[in-house]
């Protein structure tokens, strides 16, 4: 069925107008009635005001329906609610009409009989539609799947058949509150319909049960928005059902079995159950229209916890005071009451915790509760969690609390926000975002971003991206803001450490640059000059005449030798400062060169496809150089293996000897300097030296992806590219 917007609007106006008119007329007549047609009701306290109030409450259904159908005219949920409203409004109209004209003024008796006869079925759309189609179609107006079509058909046919049957089946109407009369519009030839009518009416509760099952199915597989919507309806429906159960349970012993007059509070309980119906239209209205505004999780959570606790306390009291009391024949015992109180007092806290956990799991699923998240984070910040782990932890914690598919923690570095940690780890890289001063940073393409401040200064931000099917709830926002306010101190510390780290890196880099410059100056300056001088001296020697004083020649030869020694020393000096082969050819050839000079036979295994950042290469080189020196001095080794390989964005350098082992890294041996150097590039250094099994030194240096060429201050075109 398709309707144009125009005809939908016309239908809306007509329906709303009809319902409003019927309610106004019905309520007016009801107010003017003197008879009180509802007095015979077996449910609730009865009376004029109860009837009036209940009518007002039923009016909420069409109100909700009108609002929904107006905003979302293509969503059948609104129209179902309006139809329910038609049912309730007819009920009000018919009851009011018959009550006023027939019972109060004895006029229009036949018309009143017709009205009462028709009122026989007004509960069917009212209750039947609420229990079937509203549940089946909520919240998007579609059945959960095609499999539920039979249910819809059976419910629809049963409702239609019931209405026709209740209207036209011949016989005597036994409508509550009205005297008996024969159906004035009964059609004798429809007498055969009566047994079918019972079947149809019996099918309605079955349809309601099946529809409730559909609701459960839909809830179980719902996500995000739909799940939020379902929670509203589920909560209100469960509340209505619970109140009805309580009211029925409380009433049963008195009315039917107890043969005792019901206490005065039972009708109030019944009223409460009756009035609770108002929750359903309200919940449906909020769910469809305002689902993003309110988060019901907390309400459900609390309701579950306190409901269960009330049940616990009641159960303990009943079991002890009534159970044991009956058994020992003393139900009024003060001692038993005290015992019960004591047990409740002892058990309360553990039970509350357990119930809270169960409620948390039911409501939040596997997510942590907001409180847990904050407690966890504070705990980590207070304990000695390594700083580099803190922000990833924060991302993980935020993700588990909000159910986000991705969380990024940004850190402010200078005038930029830099992505510092993400959950899940290893997502796509993010570019830094420039920010200005104290204003809130804007992070695009996330569902929610909260700035982290410390003393008014923006230090970073936490950004949350949710699954497409999920939406950010107010609770998520609140949680993230709480998290951000706690994170201020953490980020400040992280930034301090970050600054310290980068200043250390700058120092090491400056030192490396200085060393390279020195090496170059030595080779291209001093060394050249000495070679030229040595050459001049040599040539001068050839010009010494054979008849000259032999001492002259000797002195010149000595000078030549000294110059030669100076050159050798200079070369070694330059090499120690910074080997040119490292700058020019990279780590592999430099390590081979080291191995050639090693006093202990050394083999090199290098698996590096590309040049690495200069700082990483230099650090790796000096680690191996120092380690080889140590092997030569202390290890008593007959061989040493040098390894260099890239593993997972880390350069892993190892120097393993087959010496005596048992090296103590804390005792000098130049290791502290290496540790500092390695730490400056965020690397780790490990010494494994079991006695008798040799020593293995392993350095792991992180290599930023794609950083190799970019970071090289002096890239030399590889000679390998030149054909030999």
């Amino acid at each position: 069925m398709t309707f144009s917007d125009r005809s939908l609007r016309a239908l809306w106006w007509a329906t709303c107008g009809f319902i409003l008119a019927a309610f106004v007329i019905g309520l007016t007549l009801h107010t003017l009635s003197t008879s009180g047609a509802d007095q015979g009701s077996s449910w609730g306290s009865g009376g004029f005001w109860t009837g009036f109030l209940f009518t007002l409450i039923t009016f909420m259904f069409p109100v909700a329906g009108a609002v929904i159908a107006r905003r979302e005219p293509r969503n059948p949920v609104g129209w179902v609610l309006l139809l329910i409203g038609v049912g309730w409004s007819l009920d009000a109209l018919f009851t009011g009409f018959a009550g006023y004209y027939w019972l109060s003024h004895q006029r229009f008796v036949t018309a009143s009989h017709v009205a009462v006869q028709l009122d026989q079925w007004t509960w069917i759309p009212a209750i039947g539609l609420t229990g079937t189609f509203l549940l089946l179609l909520f919240p998007d107006g579609h059945l959960p799947s095609r499999r539920w079509r039979p249910v819809a058909w059976v419910a629809g046919v049963a409702i239609a058949l019931s209405i026709v049957g209740q209207s036209f089946a011949p016989g005597t109407a036994k409508q509550t509150g009205f005297p008996e009369f024969r159906n004035p519009i009964g059609l004798p030839f429809l007498a055969w319909l009566v047994p079918l009518l019972y079947v149809a009416i019996a099918l309605i509760p079955l349809g309601i049960i099946a529809s409730a099952a559909a609701l459960v199915v839909r809830f179980r597989r719902s996500r995000g928005l739909e799940r939020l919507q379902m929670k509203w309806l589920a909560t209100s429906a469960a509340t209505v059902a619970l109140l009805y159960l309580v009211a029925m349970a409380a009433t049963l012993p008195f009315d039917n079995f107890g043969n005792r007059p019901a206490p005065t509070w039972t009708p109030f309980l019944q009223d409460l159950a009756l009035f609770s119906f108002v929750l359903i239209p309200i919940a449906v209205g909020i769910a469809v229209l305002k689902h993003r505004l309110y988060d019901i999780d907390v309400v459900i959570n609390r309701a579950l916890v306190y409901g269960a606790l009330a049940a616990f306390i009641t159960a303990v009291y009943v079991a002890i005071v009534v159970g044991i009391g009956t058994a020992i024949g003393n139900r009024g015992s003060l001692g038993l009451s005290i015992l019960a109180t004591a047990l409740v007092a002892i058990g309360f806290q553990p039970v509350r915790q357990r119930v809270q956990r169960v409620a948390n799991r039911l409501v939040y699923g596997e997510r942590a509760t907001p409180y847990e998240v904050l407690a966890q984070l504070s705990g980590q910040a207070a304990h000695a969690v390594a700083t580099e782990d803190l922000l990833p932890q924060m991302a993980r914690v935020a993700a588990s609390a909000t159910g986000a598919s991705r969380v990024d923690v940004w850190l402010r570095v200078g005038d930029q926000l830099v992505p510092e940690a993400s959950w899940p780890v290893g997502g796509p890289g993010l570019a830094a975002i420039p920010i200005d001063g104290g204003s809130d940073p804007s992070i695009g393409d996330v569902d929610l971003a909260v700035p982290v401040r410390h003393q008014g200064e923006v230090l970073g931000a936490i950004a949350v991206t949710k699954d497409v099917r999920e939406s950010v709830t107010p609770a998520d926002r609140k949680l993230l803001e709480d998290l951000a306010s706690q994170a201020g101190l953490v980020l400040r510390n992280v930034r301090l450490i970050e600054e310290l780290r980068s200043s250390r890196q700058r120092l090491v880099r400056a030192q490396d640059d200085e060393r390279r410059r020195l090496e170059r100056d030595l080779h291209d300056g001093a060394q050249q000059r000495i070679v030229a001088t040595a050459l001049a001296v040599r040539m001068a020697r050839t010009q010494v005449r054979p008849d000259a004083d032999p001492a002259v020649g000797q002195r010149i030869d000595q000078a030549s030798e000294q110059l030669q020694l100076a050159l050798t020393e200079l070369r070694e000096l330059a090499r120690g400062i910074h080997p040119a082969i490292l700058t020019e050819r990279g780590l592999g050839p430099a390590l081979s060169s080291l191995a050639e000079r090693s006093p202990v036979p050394a083999t090199v295994e290098v698996a590096l496809g590309e040049r690495l950042p200069a700082q990483i290469e230099a650090t790796a080189y000096f680690v191996v150089s120092e380690a080889l020196a140590n092997v030569g001095k202390y290890a008593g080794a007959s061989s040493v293996r040098i390894g260099a390989a890239l593993e997972d964005h880390r350069l892993v350098i190892s120097v393993a000897d087959d010496g005596t082992g048992g090296a103590d890294p804390s005792k000098g041996s130049g290791l502290q300097g290496l540790l500092d150097r390695v730490a400056a590039v965020d690397g780790t250094l490990e010494v494994d030296s079991p006695p008798g099994e040799g020593t293995t030194l392993t350095a792991r240096l992180p290599v930023p992806a794609g950083a190799a060429e970019r970071l090289h201050p002096d890239p030399s075109p590889a000679m390998a590219t030149v054909p030999a």
Partner: protein, 226 residues
């Protein structure tokens, strides 16, 4: 490739020089001139040298490894260009420091007409001019420091252990690119004895003997480096 011995006794060997240090370049030029070479050109960088070589191909180009603009391995690259464009020109690369890696890279697949020497060697006039002549004649020259580092390198069990002291000396001289004749002169041995040592060495190391001195250099260096 075969090389004629260039027995131009009456003619002076022609040399092109490239070094960005004028002081040193002038010194080397004077030394060579006084030692009977003809210095055909002096250049400050690789490009200049290539132009000069193309204009008047010398017998040998002597190239400093570090020259402008980057002061890293311009000399090596110029050497490769010359080998490519003027295969008949010998190239002697001088360097402030020697590394095996550079030597092997320079030699590539053929050591013919190539030399790699520490720059300091220019001060030993006899050795230096001898090296220039050998490169000019299509031979090979590898700096003794490279060789001594390779031969003297700490090793675990190796076929080198089987060599006698004499044989090791012969091996080192072979690695420096010297011919049997030169080795026998240097060690005051008869050519026959040297040939015997060489045969022994090749047998003990499991290398195939080769008549060409420059092939021998490569084979021995490769062995020493492995």
């Amino acid at each position: 490739m075969t090389f004629d011995p260039r027995a131009r006794v009456d003619e002076r060997m022609r040399v092109a020089l490239a070094d960005d240090s004028i002081l040193l370049r002038e010194g080397v030029a004077r030394l060579l001139t006084e030692s009977g070479f003809e210095v055909t050109s002096q250049s400050g960088d690789g490009e200049e040298l290539l132009a000069a070589v193309a204009a008047s191909p010398p017998d040998v180009a002597i190239v400093d490894i570090r020259m402008p603009p980057t002061h890293t391995d311009e000399g090596l690259r110029a050497a490769h260009r010359i080998r490519e464009e003027h295969p008949e020109v010998g190239v002697l690369v001088l360097s402030q420091y020697v590394e095996t890696d550079y030597a092997m890279q320079l030699l590539g697949t053929s050591a013919a007409g190539l030399g790699y020497l520490l720059k300091d060697r220019v001060t030993n006039v006899q050795e230096f001019t001898d090296a220039v002549r050998r490169v000019g004649a299509g031979g090979s020259v590898i700096d003794p420091e490279v060789v001594s580092r390779l031969v003297g390198r700490a090793r675990q069990a190796s076929p080198l252990d089987a060599l006698s002291e004499r044989e090791r000396e012969v091996l080192a001289l072979m690695a420096e690119g010297r011919s049997n004749q030169a080795i026998s002169e240097r060690m005051y041995l008869s050519p026959k004895t040297v040939e015997g040592h060489v045969r022994n060495i090749f047998t003990k190391l499991g290398l195939a003997d080769t008549p060409d001195d420059h092939r021998r250099v490569l084979a021995v260096l490769t062995f020493l480096r492995s």
